[in-house]
């Protein structure tokens, strides 16, 4: 988790995405290292044939977003990589842990439009906050299967059983399997 914002630091969100190749992380971290930026939080993954990175970086003030953009533009020119930089406000720096119970929800079934929308809308309307989500299309080309796995924080007063019951009606509507289980970590 990143520490709460220090007044002497400027924070930025950096998004990098492009066709996967060896060296994207090294190129990105080189730019940040040479500028003196600190990577406070990051997540990188493959999406289809693309490699995607999201980083929260900090730098001692004064430091401008423009400087970051210029350096990334120079580094990514002609590589097919896209870089996007956003300045973070005070209330966007500190990680706000979820307050309620954490659960993991698996949804899978024959591929059709609307699975992600119907599931997430139902959860959002009940105040369930999604903290992580992955989707994959698997199965045979003639019979594609859509897999959605998401981690979510339940609001106070909503149990795993409630969440399960909430999604029950969508099983029939979407012709999917849905299972909900508690994954709140325990300190041992």
């Amino acid at each position: 988790m990143n520490l709460c914002r220090k007044p002497n630091l400027a924070h930025f969100a950096v998004t990098i995405i492009g066709k996967d190749r060896t060296g994207i992380v090294a190129d990105t971290s080189e730019v940040l290292f040479k500028l003196g930026c600190n990577v406070e939080d990051s997540s990188c993954t493959m999406l289809g044939g693309e490699f995607a990175m999201i980083l929260i970086v900090s730098h001692e003030k004064p430091f401008s977003k423009k400087k970051l953009e210029e350096e990334f533009a120079a580094k990514t020119a002609g590589t097919g990589l896209s870089a996007f930089v956003r300045t973070l406000k005070d209330d966007e720096v500190c990680y706000q842990g979820p307050e309620g119970e954490l659960c993991l929800i698996s949804v899978y079934g024959s591929d059709k439009p609307g699975i992600v929308y119907r599931i997430t809308r139902e959860l959002a309307d009940r105040g369930v906050s999604i903290t992580d989500l992955n989707t994959k299309l698997i199965g045979k080309p003639t019979e594609p299967v859509y897999v959605l796995v998401l981690e979510a924080a339940l609001p106070q007063g909503l149990t795993v059983e409630d969440a399960s019951a909430l999604l029950e009606k969508l099983k029939k509507e979407l012709s999917v399997e849905i299972s909900v289980r508690l994954i709140t970590p325990v300190s041992l």
Partner: protein, 168 residues
Amino acid sequence: MAVKPIVVYPDPILKQVCAPVQAIDDEIKQLIEDLVDTMHAGPGSVGVAAPQIGVSRRVCVIDVSKNRHGKENNHGLLLMINPEIVAKSGGAVMREGCMSVPDYTGDVERATELTLRFTEPDGNVREFDASGFEAVAIQHEMDHLDGFLFLDRIASLKTGLFRRKSYK
């Protein structure tokens, strides 16, 4: 030799609770032979459950002895009719895949020690303790008999900084 095609999701048989075996007749013995042949034909396969070859009965076969995770700790080839987990303890996360859900894997938490009871093809009831990878494989195959896939058991999308798991 009867290597059967593996049923893949969304075939509905994979989501059914399988019927118990009432009598060990020629049909059940043939089913077990087919399961063993199919397991041996599957690259790296350590187990196959009856619904995976299209038969909704409580029968599965397991052999982790040739797998690098199981070769040091196993009971060899297990031919299990109406298996039951009598007790289980411990827990560890392993990344699992399944022949019935090709091209996808997920982190699943399973018990690391269990006491298992099942009937063998000769009618003997056997009970023993399994642990480690063999215990994981047994739970994965037994889930098939209750209509569960590993997709229903995925335990984590990421590792939180303060989430600690015990690995053996």
